[in-house]
C-alpha cells in the first residue's frame, strides 16, 4: 500500500463527487411538488455530471505514476472528540476511483433507464431523490478515508435501500421486505460497528492509513476478531450466508433499484470492505479461510435456490447472491484474489445490471408480470431486450471471451490454485457453481424468451391482457450500453492484467497462481461444466412445452430450494424464536421481578403512608394530645436520668 499524498489539481474538487448527488437529493426532497416536472432530469443530470467528473479524475490519475495515484482530500474534522478524531476526508486511489466509475456509470445508465421505467409513477421525483441519495451515500462509502466515514456511507446506502425497497409501500410484501432488509442489515452493521470499536480501542484511530500501518501491533486473536466482524458486516450488506435472505425479498422494489443497488453496487459493498481491509486480512489466514467458506457456501446455495424459483427477478437475485459469493470467495483468497474479486465485481456490475434492466424491460412490457412461467417466446417481440439480455446471459455463464469468462473463470482458477484440500474443495465448489449457474440461466432464457408464448391465453392479475412490446429508447439505450460492457469489460480488464496493475497501489500485486490444476485445465473444466449445465437445461426446459403452473409434486431438493434451502426457517429457528423467548423471559422478569420490586416498594410506602396518613385527622386537639404525650415522654426521660 502506498502512502497517500494530498489531493491537488482536479482532485481538489473531489468533494463534488459527494456534493452533486447530495445536492440533487436535497433539492428534490426539499423542493417538493414544484420539482415534479423536471425532478427526474435534475436527478439524471447530477449523476451524469458526477460520472463525467469521475471519469476526468480517473484519467487524470491514470496519467500519473502508480506511486502518486493515491491521494487524500481533507475536508474538515468531523468528530474532534478528545481521543477520537475522525476527519472527513476523501481517499482517492485506484480502488475507490474504480468504484466511483462503476457507481456513477451504472448509476447514470439506470437513472436514464428509470426515466422511462418510472414514467407512470406518481412519485417519480421522490424516486430520483432517493436514487441520488443512494449514489451520494455509496460514493461516500467508497471514498471515505476511514472506517467511520465508510460506516456513515454504509448506513446511508442502507437507508436509501430501505426507502427504495419499500417504494411500493402500499404492498405489504414490499413494506415487510424493506423492514427485513433493514433489520438484517442491522445485524451486519453491528459487526462492522464492533470492529470499528475494537480498532479505536486498540489502535486509537479509525483512519485507513493509520489502522493498516499499525494493524501488525495487534494480537492474532484481535485481528481474527476484526476480520470476522468485518465479514459479518460484509455478509449483511452483500447478502451472504447466513444473512442472505433479505436480498431476494428486496426485489419487491422497482427493477432499476434492483439493478443498481441490489445487483451492481450496494451489495458489493461487502466485497469492497474486505478488499479495502486487505492489510488486515493479509494478516489472518484463519479469517480468510472463514471468508472463503462463507463465499463458497453462499455461491452454492445461491445457485441451487436460483434453479427453483419462477420469479424472474428472484432468480436474478439469487444469481446475484451466488455471484457475490464468488467475489467473497475471491477476496478470501487473499493477495491471490483481491483484484480478481474486484474485477468480477465490475464485470458483474455490467452484466447483472444489464440482466436486471432486461428483466425490467420484459416486465414493463408484460404488465409488471414477474412469473417466468407466464412468459415465453418474447424474443421476437422484444428484440433489443432479447439481444442485450442474451449477451448479459452469456457473460454470466462464462461464454468464452465475454466478461464472465475472464473474471469468473479467473476466480475458479484461483480457487483451484490453492494448496492441498482447499484447492480441490473451493475450486470444485466454484466450478460446480458455474455449472449450476449455466443451468438456471439457461432455464431463464428458455422460459422467458424462447419456447411457445404461454401468456396468450392469460390475463394479468389486474385483469389486463398481455401485450408484450419493446421498451422505449430511454430504457433500451442503457441496456445496449451495458451489453457492450458485458461483452468487452472482461477482456479489457484482464488483458495484460490491466485492472490488477491499476489496482495494485490499493490491493497489492496480484500473486502468481500455483495450484492443484493449471489455468488452462480449469478453463476447460469450467467450460465443460457450463456447457453441461446449458445442455441439461435445454433438455429439461427447451424441448417440450412448459406448464403455466409450476409442478407441485417435486423432489425434496427442489422443495428445499423453493424454500430458500430453509434459510428463513433456519433464521427463524436459530435466532428469531430464541430471541422471542428471551424477550418474553425478559419481559416477564421486568414485569414481575423488576416492576414487582419497584411497585412493591411503592405499594409498601403508599400503603403505610395511607395508614399513617390517618393520623392527620385535621383535629388540632388530636395534635395537641400527641404534643402533650411527647412532653410527658421527654419529662419522664429527664426525670429518669436525673433521679435514677
Amino acid at each position: 500500500m502506498t502512502e497517500p499524498v494530498a489531493a491537488s489539481g482536479i482532485a481538489g474538487l473531489a468533494w463534488l463527487l459527494l456534493a452533486l448527488p447530495a445536492l440533487g437529493a436535497a433539492v428534490l426532497l426539499l423542493g417538493g411538488k414544484r420539482t415534479d416536472r423536471w425532478g427526474h432530469l435534475l436527478g439524471c443530470a447530477t449523476v451524469i455530471a458526477t460520472f463525467v467528473y469521475g471519469a476526468a479524475l480517473f484519467f487524470t490519475t491514470l496519467g500519473q505514476s502508480p506511486e502518486a495515484r493515491t491521494s487524500e482530500l481533507h475536508l474538515f474534522d468531523w468528530v474532534p472528540v478528545n481521543a477520537l478524531t475522525v476527519e472527513f476526508a476523501l481517499r482517492l486511489d485506484p480502488l475507490s476511483l474504480t468504484f466511483v466509475l462503476l457507481i456513477t456509470g451504472v448509476g447514470s445508465l439506470i437513472h436514464i433507464y428509470s426515466i422511462g421505467y418510472m414514467a407512470h409513477e406518481a412519485g417519480r421525483r421522490r424516486f430520483f431523490a432517493y436514487l441520488n441519495l443512494f449514489v451520494a451515500a455509496m460514493l461516500l462509502l467508497v471514498l471515505g478515508n476511514g472506517f467511520v466515514t465508510l460506516y456513515f456511507g454504509w448506513e446511508g446506502v442502507g437507508l436509501a435501500s430501505y426507502l427504495l425497497i419499500g417504494w411500493y409501500q402500499h404492498k405489504p410484501e414490499a413494506a415487510s421486505a424493506a423492514k427485513k432488509a433493514f433489520l438484517m442489515n442491522r445485524v451486519g452493521d453491528l459487526g462492522l460497528a464492533i470492529a470499528i470499536f475494537i480498532m479505536f480501542k486498540e489502535l486509537g484511530t479509525t483512519q485507513y492509513t493509520e489502522v493498516f500501518a499499525r494493524v501488525g501491533e495487534l494480537s492474532s486473536a484481535e485481528v481474527l476478531a476484526i476480520t470476522l466482524l468485518l465479514l459479518l458486516g460484509a455478509c449483511g450488506k452483500s447478502g451472504q450466508f447466513p444473512l442472505q435472505a433479505w436480498l431476494p425479498d428486496a426485489m419487491a422494489g422497482p427493477t432499476p433499484v434492483s439493478a443498481l443497488i441490489h445487483a451492481a453496487t450496494m451489495v458489493t459493498a461487502g466485497v469492497y470492505l474486505i478488499a479495502r481491509s486487505n492489510p488486515i486480512y493479509n494478516l489472518s489466514a484463519d479469517g480468510r479461510l472463514v471468508v472463503m467458506i462463507i463465499g463458497a457456501f453462499t455461491l452454492l446455495i445461491g445457485c441451487v435456490i436460483g434453479c427453483a424459483y419462477d420469479d424472474f427477478k428472484k432468480v436474478l437475485a439469487y444469481s446475484t447472491v451466488s455471484q457475490i459469493g464468488y467475489m467473497i470467495l475471491a477476496v478470501g483468497l487473499g493477495p491471490l484474489g483481491y483484484a480478481l474479486g474486484i474485477m468480477h465485481l465490475l464485470t458483474h456490475g455490467f452484466f447483472k445490471a444489464g440482466l436486471f434492466l432486461g428483466a425490467g424491460s420484459v416486465m414493463h412490457g408484460m404488465n409488471d408480470e414477474g412469473n417466468i412461467r407466464r412468459m415465453g417466446g418474447l424474443a421476437k417481440l422484444m428484440p433489443i431486450t432479447f439481444v442485450t439480455w442474451t449477451l448479459g446471459y452469456l457473460a454470466l455463464i462464462g461464454f468464452p471471451f465475454l466478461s464472465g469468462y475472464f473474471s469468473k473463470d479467473a476466480i475458479i482458477a484461483a480457487a483451484f490454485s490453492q494448496e492441498g484440500w482447499r484447492g480441490w474443495v473451493f475450486g470444485g465448489v466454484a466450478a460446480l457453481g458455474a455449472a449450476i449457474t449455466a443451468f438456471y440461466m439457461t432455464r431463464l432464457l428458455l422460459l422467458v424468451f424462447l419456447g411457445q408464448p404461454r401468456w396468450k391465453e392469460l390475463k394479468s392479475e389486474d385483469g389486463r391482457e398481455y401485450h408484450p412490446h419493446e421498451s422505449p429508447l430511454s430504457m433500451t439505450v442503457p441496456m445496449i450500453v451495458l451489453a457492450f460492457g458485458s461483452v468487452g469489460a472482461g477482456f479489457f480488464f484482464s488483458s495484460g492484467d490491466n485492472l490488477a496493475g491499476w489496482l495494485a497501489p490499493s490491493l497489492g500485486e496480484l500473486q502468481e497462481q500455483h495450484g492443484v490444476l493449471g489455468h488452462t485445465a480449469v478453463n476447460f473444466l469450467t467450460l465443460g461444466l457450463s456447457a453441461l449445465g446449458v445442455l441439461v437445461a435445454w433438455l429439461l426446459f427447451g424441448r417440450k412445452p412448459q406448464p403455466v403452473r409450476r409442478p407441485e409434486r417435486v423432489s425434496f431438493p427442489v422443495r428445499a430450494a423453493r424454500a430458500d434451502l430453509y434459510g428463513n426457517a433456519l433464521n427463524e429457528a436459530l435466532f428469531a424464536r430464541p430471541g422471542t423467548w428471551l424477550t418474553r423471559a425478559l419481559v416477564f422478569v421486568d414485569n414481575k421481578g423488576v416492576d414487582g420490586l419497584v411497585n412493591g416498594t411503592a405499594a409498601l410506602l403508599g400503603g403505610s403512608s395511607g395508614r399513617l396518613r390517618r393520623l392527620q385527622t385535621g383535629f388540632v386537639r388530636s395534635y395537641a394530645l400527641s404534643m402533650l404525650l411527647g412532653a410527658i415522654c421527654v419529662l419522664g426521660a429527664l426525670l429518669m436520668v436525673r433521679f435514677s
Binding site: 390517618r614 392527620q616 385535621g618 383535629f619 386537639r621
Partner: protein
C-alpha cells in the same frame, strides 16, 4: 411552708391548662387555656426569682406578659377572621388540612 408550694400550684395550673386545650372545642376557650398555662409559668418564674434573690425572674415574667399580649391580639384576630368566613369558633370545624 416553703415557696415550693407556689411551684406546685403552678404545675397544677399548667396541667389544667393543658387538659383544657385538649378538651375544650371553642377556639377562644382553648386560647384562654393557653393563657392559663402562660400564667402558671409566670407564677413559677416569680417564685424562682424569689428563691434565687434575683429580679431576673420577674423580668422574664414581664416579657412573657408582653409576648402573651401580642399573641392574644393576633390570635383573636385570626379567630375572628375564621369566624367571619366559617361562622364557627370551634377548633374541630377547621379541619380541612388533613389526610
Amino acid at each position: 411552708m416553703t415557696p415550693t408550694y407556689y411551684l406546685l400550684l403552678s404545675a397544677l395550673l399548667f396541667s389544667l391548662g393543658a387538659v383544657g386545650v385538649l378538651v375544650r372545642r371553642n377556639a377562644i376557650v382553648v386560647f384562654m387555656c393557653v393563657e392559663l398555662m402562660l400564667n402558671a409559668v409566670n407564677l413559677s418564674l416569680v417564685t424562682f426569682a424569689r428563691i434565687n434573690g434575683e429580679l431576673d425572674g420577674q423580668v422574664m415574667a414581664f416579657f412573657v406578659m408582653v409576648v402573651a399580649a401580642a399573641e392574644v391580639v393576633v390570635g383573636l384576630a385570626i379567630i375572628m377572621a375564621i369566624f367571619k368566613t366559617r361562622r364557627s369558633a370551634s377548633v374541630d370545624d377547621s379541619n380541612l388540612l388533613k389526610y
